[in-house]
Symmetry: C2
Subunit: 151 residues, 2 copies
């Protein structure tokens, strides 16, 4: 997978790492998400929302935005779809009626409780291509890289 880009050494090195980083994520998701869809009819975003609610309890939509790192309009859409499927419920905050509080339904709780261990086991299996040291190393590098100070 050559880079094709004629640039400085520094650019070639950075671009090479960047491409491999992106491809690794694509490859992992390509092996995870179809399972999630077929077995639990869940998308990645839906899993993210359910997981946040499962571990943190009812949340405002704005809080969900921060948790899953998506825009407000996107959270509206994802929660719409989850609500239609009966996995979550929306409720207006009594004291501040601008706020929508989202919480799991019983069905939603059952689904995420069942899906999560399976999903995590699959992730663990895929990450098993790296040694434990390498996994730690990768986490460290990604964390350093992702700490956005604005560019």
């Amino acid at each position: 997978m050559p880079t094709h880009y004629q640039g400085t050494e520094g650019e070639k090195r950075a671009l090479d790492a960047f491409i491999k980083l992106n491809r690794s994520v694509s490859a992992l998701n390509g092996q995870l998400l179809p399972h999630l869809q077929r077995e639990f009819s869940l998308t990645e975003s839906q899993l993210g929302v359910l997981e946040a609610l499962y571990h943190l309890g009812p949340l405002q939509q704005g809080q969900l935005c921060q948790k899953i790192l998506r825009s407000g309009s996107n959270v509206t859409t994802v929660v719409d779809n989850l609500e239609r499927g009966g996995l979550v419920r929306r409720e207006r905050d009594a004291t501040d009626r601008r706020i929508q509080i989202v919480q799991l339904t019983e069905h939603g709780r059952k689904v995420i409780a069942e899906a999560l261990p399976v999903h995590v086991a699959r992730i663990t299996a895929l990450l098993g291509r790296l040694s434990t040291d390498e996994q730690d190393q990768l986490g460290r590098l990604c964390k350093k890289l992702g700490s956005a100070e604005k560019g």
Copy 2:
């Protein structure tokens, strides 16, 4: 950014690396793609297509699928949009009329020739948070991780 997941040590380690990997890609793209959109009116996929055509010359849509790692129906959509914007042109292969050959227009060539160096410079700047050794290390780990043998 705690993991919240109660699992084995191996699961916690894998999940932690996985989450940081995903977030780093989100963070980088979050700093790259808005620029690309504002300055050149290009999406990530459009850039991928234009770059492939720029470096490899005219390609069949099926070949584009492999280059940008997306489904056939997606490539149809992305090429539709590029064609509508006058950046690429489609042409039926003369000997096998099932095949669509996609190539840059003069305008498309100008746009990608201008956008690519700017984009690469930005990537290089962002990757500069890591030393050159760390960039190589990251590339190596991601490559190993992404080498999908089917899961």
